[in-house]
């Protein structure tokens, strides 16, 4: 039976949990965006304070910071090339099972027994790293390792890079996943991690893998050691088990073509490589609600919420958490629409002196008076997002530079005075929200030849048109 205080805590926690759950996501997104804008403002003010009065950096930081820092600039030693030795005991792969909840590739490898056992270790100054096992499918690499902190300081490992034959896997979104609250290891503690990295499609990876690992010491706030070592791992362990299809099909949404370049099923994931056709008149920013659908007779299977890899203005790869759909009669990709904008509308033209928009993609975006004072050269864009649920925090994203009427390029400044930013939920039943975006041209811009043109990097213009495209059928298009 619970003590009185535990009973009251449990009841209170339950009540709070319900209230927390009810809050619309947009309100949270708004708060975060506003906070980041405030951060930029404060950074700007801090820089001005520093340069304006010649205060030393420590004094300026003392005004702003109330939280203990995790470290100052680390003193870095060069990497030490080390040989691995056999681990003291064979790894138990099930120790990594809690991490599988975060990545279907890990779950698939553990469930299907696809992990290549390595059981090799490196140790330096009381900190040991055991490489338990590895698996790669030519698109992603996974390194399962444990770290044992036998020092008397809190420390943790950081995988800096993974390369094959001198060619590095992509740093973007490379990370070590773990099931603990923090990467940090107390003295005497052991942690379990899985490092994942994506392979760059155009790169040629060969040979064994070399890992570069840093050990961060939280007590001394510096990297205590930096190690490089090689493990026996090829870039694609499942080359003989992958199924690659080149359907040559095209998904067309609002007349915009999205070419299916390749569909690849590996024992870990399904990768759908898409390219936006160069002839498209619109720039596609995002596919809305992509779903992989497999059908065999009456049987239908679906995979939702793919991850994306290497997304830019020309292409995107969807990574679905499944690997068996090509065993069904037919597999297709379906989308609810796209977020896209005419390429020749990817700009906002502003007369800063008149505070008027001369040209914009549509009339959803306006310049409004901010609630508080604005600096010279600062304006506030107000943008109404329709079909906001599908946007999922997709924000207006403008270039960091702008051009004046004579074509000269200038850099945008951080907002100085305007505090409004982010989304607000309109409360309307029309599924719209409002987005506030300050833009600081700088006061000198008032003297530049007008109007000023800002390039658009991302703009919420949803085109809701449900379309699907065939990817694989049993009749074969390999």
């Amino acid at each position: 039976m619970l003590e009185k205080e535990q009973r009251i805590l449990a009841q209170d926690s339950d009540d709070i949990s319900k209230k927390v759950h009810d809050l619309p996501e947009m309100k949270l997104s708004t708060a975060v965006r506003r906070g980041m804008l405030q951060g930029r403002n404060r950074e700007m003010r801090r820089r001005k304070l520093f340069y304006g009065i010649g205060a030393i950096a420590v004094g300026a930081a003392a005004i702003m910071i109330t939280i203990s820092s995790l470290g100052v600039a680390p003193k870095e030693k060069p990497y030490e090339l080390v040989q691995t030795t056999r681990s003291p005991q064979p790894a138990n792969f099930e120790s990594f099972r809690p991490i599988a909840a975060q990545d279907q590739g890990i779950a698939a490898a553990l469930d299907q027994g696809l992990v290549k056992r390595i059981d090799q270790s490196v140790e330096k100054n009381g900190f040991r790293i055991d490489i338990a096992g590895v698996f790669t499918d030519g698109r992603k690499a996974y390194i399962m390792y444990s770290a044992h902190n036998q020092t008397d300081h809190t420390a943790y490992p950081l995988v800096e890079s993974l390369n094959f034959g001198g060619v590095e896997a992509s740093h973007f979104r490379a990370q070590s996943k773990h099931a603990m609250g923090s990467n940090m290891l107390m003295p005497g503690q052991t942690g379990y991690y899985v490092y994942t990295a994506n392979f760059v499609p155009s790169a040629s990876y060969k040979g064994d893998a070399t890992l570069a690992v840093k050990i961060w010491d939280s007590t001394t706030n510096e990297y205590r050691d930096q190690l490089k070592f090689t493990i026996p791992l090829e870039p694609n362990m499942f080359k003989n088990e992958e199924r690659i299809y080149h359907p040559g099909s095209t998904l067309t949404v609002d007349g915009q073509k999205i070419n299916v370049r390749q569909v690849q099923f590996t024992p870990l994931n399904t990768y759908v490589d898409l390219e936006y056709d160069r002839s498209n008149g619109k720039q596609i920013f995002k596919l809305l609600n992509p779903v992989l659908i497999g059908k065999s007779g009456d049987k239908i299977q679906k995979a939702y919420y793919p991850d994306t890899m290497f997304s830019d203005e020309t292409k995107v790869t969807l990574v679905f958490k499944t690997n068996t759909f090509d065993q069904l009669d037919r597999t297709e990709l379906k989308v609810a629409g796209v977020a896209a904008l005419d390429k020749d509308k990817m700009k906002i033209v502003v007369d800063l002196n008149k505070k008027e928009i001369i040209e914009a993609p549509d009339d959803h975006i306006q310049i409004i008076e901010p609630e508080g004072p604005a600096g010279a050269g600062e304006i506030l864009f107000h943008y109404k997002l329709e079909k906001a649920q599908a946007a999922e925090s997709f924000g207006l994203w403008l270039e960091d530079s702008f051009t004046d009427a004579e074509g000269a390029k200038h850099k945008r400044l951080s907002p100085e005075h305007i505090k409004q930013s982010g989304h607000t939920v309109s409360g309307n039943p029309d599924d719209s929200t409002e987005d506030y975006n300050p833009y600081n041209f700088g006061k000198e811009a008032l003297d530049y030849p007008q109007p000023l043109t800002i390039g658009i990097k991302q703009y919420w213009n949803p085109i809701m048109e449900s379309q699907s495209v065939d990817l694989v059928s049993k009749k074969g298009n390999r």
Binding site: S13, G35, M36, Q175, S182, Q458
Partner: protein, 164 residues
């Protein structure tokens, strides 16, 4: 505690940083709400935490400790705000708030008891009972040994029992 999907924070652009925080925003809000007890204040805490996280992003050397780092920032924001409120709001208004919000007496007693707890005990109790974190996870957030966290939890509950 799940792992945040972050690349290197010091080179991450604003949109990517926003997405990194957005992945944890509800958790941060939950923590803030458990301290502040109302939506408006809790949202302001989330905003302030995002502000501080943005300003400190380059000082986080291990991007893989992103989530505990964010939680620590959020807790510190809560404590700063509670200290500020204490300076301007007389404690008499507790009674007034209770009438307006129709709180149970248990809840009022709990809030008062929590306010009296040493802050280290309060953090541990909050993270354990409101965020359902293990003592190991809490230790990572507070950067203390797990044994210390367990001892703080025991002591915190003992004090709550005394006040309630």
């Amino acid at each position: 505690m799940k792992k945040a999907n972050v690349a290197s924070l010091d080179v991450m652009d604003e949109e990517a940083f926003f997405r990194a925080i957005a992945g944890e925003q509800r958790k941060l809000y939950s923590i803030a709400f458990s301290y502040m007890r109302n939506e408006t204040d809790a949202l302001e805490i989330v905003q302030e935490a995002a502000c501080r996280a943005w300003m400190k992003r380059k000082k986080l050397k291990n991007e893989q400790a992103f989530v505990p780092w964010l939680i620590r920032i959020t807790i510190n924001c809560c404590m700063d705000e509670l200290r500020r409120k204490k300076r301007v709001v007389p404690t008499d208004t507790f009674k007034e708030e209770a009438v307006q919000e129709m709180k149970s007496s248990d809840k009022i007693d709990l809030e008062r008891a929590m306010a009296k707890l040493k802050k280290k005990y309060r953090h541990v109790v909050m993270l354990k009972y409101y965020q359902d974190m293990t003592t190991a996870d809490i230790a990572k957030v507070l950067q203390k040994p797990e044994g210390t966290v367990k001892s703080w939890l025991r002591e915190g509950l003992k004090q709550l029992r005394k006040y309630l």
